[in-house]
Amino acid sequence: MKAYRQQRNNLTLHSITFVVQHAAMISVCVIQNSFAFLIAWEMIALTSFLVIIFEHEHIATIKAGINYLIQAHFSILFLMIGFIWVASKTGSYDFEAITSYSASIPVSASFMLFMFFFIGFAIKAGFVPFHTWLPYAHPAAPSHVSGIMSGVIIKIGIFGILRMLLLVKTDFTSVGYLILIVSLISGLYGVMLAIIQHNLKKLLAYHSIENIGIIGIGIGIGCIGTGTGNQVLAALGFAGALLHTLNHALFKSLLFYTAGNVYQATHTMDIEKLGGLIKRMPQTAVLFLIAAIAISGIPPFNGFVSEFIIYTGLYNWLSDASLLSLLAAIFSTMGLALIGGLAMMCFTKAFGVVFLGTARCELPSSCKEVPFLQLFPMYILAVFIVLIGLFPVSFISLLSQPVSLFIGTGSLMFNASQLNALNAIQPVSWASWILILLVISIFLVRRFVMSRHKISTGPTWGCGYVASTPKIQYTASSFVRTYSKLFAPFLLIGKHEEEIHGIIPSEGKYHTHPYDEVEKWLIDSPLKLNKSFMGRFLFLNNGKLQFYILYGVLFILAVLSIPLIYQNIYSFIGFLKQL
């Protein structure tokens, strides 16, 4: 394949659609009319499809693109049902009508209405079980597009859900519990599958599902807070969710961009073939490391701040009286802690295998650091990741307006100084500062002490074995082997094995290819059923022109004759009714 920059025709179309895509995304956020909203939504779907299939000479890319296109239209279908439902009852496509209509109908009906919107937006956001397009579209797209898709487009889904929470008047408590459960499943399932991926971008795509889960946990507890009148919980939940939305946009784009650098330098995304890139691409490696620490929710970077707010919300919720909410709170805490641990495992694997050690396969000789201009945008992202981690208070005060929309009344102004539960954010940032100062000072002491001693290098200690090769290194699969055995019931890992046998051993092979259990049951099985049902009508499609003309004639006859005999049919039905 040629370098992206030399595919001129491709690039022209790509750039145009890229701009249109951004325009559509911005318009989705400002439009207040459901009809125009659907048009902008459709524009996002179509332009995204075009930008995904940039490498259209690969069949996998086209497949991923079409997969995305179909699922995006399922999203539109659900939204359309929701909007038309409201419009048919009120005759208005204005967003205001949704509020007034949903307030006038019984709670169960407005809950249904919200569910249509929720499913529509959840497909875009990538909540499990609507996530199956993500792991295909993200690796297939060029990395800058993957960054935008993961950083912005799936956040448009989150935006949609938040927008509908403001518009639809329904029982927020049950909505909250529903979102909380879906999000916990998304978070755990996303990261559980991320760990076993061999393709770096697919790994990151599954991680987006996990982070959408974390955002959803925030939204869920926020809704429950609104529903039960617990304003502190609502504020913490929505603030955590919104901040994590921004944070995830920052570090996930950075991760995809750095993955793009790796792809550009090595022409592969298979992490089992990479290794030791930190020596060839030190700046990319540091950027990836910053993002990896941030996404694992570890201080002193931004991921910790938003997860901290969500944790604070969950622990705050524990002061609630009812048994159900206590159980929900403790299990959500458990889930969030487990997600954090799994994310750490996933990113130590990704960073360790891709950038550290030595190369597992021979890398192309042109593998070197990308030019500075290409790194510059990534540095900007990294700076924001660090800034939010170190100065969270100023960013949280930016959230005060959107969050006060959700908690309703202005009685509780949302900012760090007035909301007691958020008092902790200031000390957390101090703690991050102290941590950084501590690291620097210990490092300086270390340098001072070491300058007086001998520093030598030698081979890695091989426990007595001296002829080690890069092949002996721990691979990504071996790193997660114990894990994948333990979590086997939830995972679907296809294995292909050829054992070594014979006196003169033949070549042995061992392949694993992870697959998605949800995809198997939700997408593949119904499709298979559908296909076998539709196969019964294959005889119609017999390839003879005469028959096709006959079908056409029959169709025209039917179209012409049905109005003629309509009256008869109508009276016949009336006759049947009389019987």
Binding site: S296, A321, M344, G352, L356, P427, C463, Q473
Partner: protein, 301 residues
């Protein structure tokens, strides 16, 4: 501030006591109690050898690991006196800052390109992942019981009054002790004195560290033990005045060290494949604590 001082003092003796107990139990005289500290001082004076495979990650990792343990130490209170840093939800920071240290020690092990160290790294990542929910549920239960969300307020408000709360305190001690074992890679999860790299976890991750870096890692390990010891002590000394609290702090730390020494002398390490089950069982124990708290607060109505 008091807690930092006490933890540092305790950490000086703690590992020495464990080693001494083990040697006495096996009929040897054993090294002096200060030997681990002397070892560290000796390491600080030594030169270092780096593997050719490693990058700067390997060089900064011990520093960050050490700093993360220090940060964790700063939020631990002692009875009525706050930690250096004390805020709502400081235990979340405690767990996550320790995770930062773990993150770096894992990637440093991966940096050497050694399969043994990769093995250790993989195990460390897996076990610490399983241990995390147990800690968060335990702290959640204590937060629910006391109505506060910072270490110091939780511990100050804990009153061991009724029989059921004794049971809870015992269970909480067990959970914290086992988390301490997992975090500091001791028996029954990991055997620091094993002679085969294949069966190690923590020890195998630091095979390539030497000199100052190794000294930092050892010191961090000693401190970690004393930190968890201090947390356990805190469960019991809520409102006791200092003249009793400080001696009991050292007494409990001493008992803990002797107990660990005895466990390590008379018990074999679990099979690696049994470790995850054990650690997940820990989560269920902490859930038990949670239900116990619900019972105390009479939520089952």
């Amino acid at each position: 501030m008091l807690s930092v001082l006490l933890i540092v003092i305790a950490s000086i003796f703690f590992t020495g006591i464990i080693i001494r107990t083990k040697s006495l139990a096996s009929g040897r005289k054993g090294p002096g109690i200060m030997q681990p500290v002397l070892d560290v001082i000796r390491l600080f004076r030594k030169g270092v050898v780096y593997s050719e495979t490693t990058s700067f990650v390997f060089q900064i990792a011990p520093t960050i690991y050490f700093a993360s343990v220090i940060m964790a130490m700063l939020v631990v209170p002692f009875g009525q006196s706050r930690g250096v840093l004390s805020f709502n939800g400081d235990f979340i920071f405690f767990a996550y800052v320790l995770a930062l240290g773990k993150f770096f020690s894992i990637i440093a092990a991966m940096d050497t390109g050694s399969s043994f160290e990769g093995m250790g790294a993989s195990r460390e990542a897996l076990y610490s992942m399983f241990a995390e929910p147990a800690f968060f549920i335990l702290m959640g239960s204590l937060a629910l019981l006391s109505g506060h969300t910072s270490f110091q307020e939780i511990f100050a408000a804990l009153h061991i009054g009724s029989q059921i709360s004794y049971a809870l305190a015992a269970l909480a001690t067990f959970v914290l002790l086992m988390i301490a074992m997992i975090e500091s890679s001791r028996m029954p999860i990991d055997d620091p004195k094993t002679h085969l790299e294949l069966t190690m976890i923590h020890e195998v991750m630091i095979l390539d560290n030497s000199g100052f870096d190794l000294g930092l890692i050892f010191t961090a390990g000693y401190l970690k033990f004393a930190i968890y010891g201090a947390l356990i002590v805190n469960l019991f000394i809520g409102v006791i005045p200092y003249q009793y609290a400080i001696p009991s702090f050292f007494a409990i730390q001493f008992v803990m060290a002797v107990a660990i020494g005895l466990i390590e002398s008379f018990m074999a390490r679990f099979r690696m494949s049994h470790n995850p089950q054990f650690i997940v069982a820990l989560t269920s124990v902490s859930l038990l604590i949670f239900f116990g708290v619900l019972l105390i607060l009479q939520k089952f109505m």
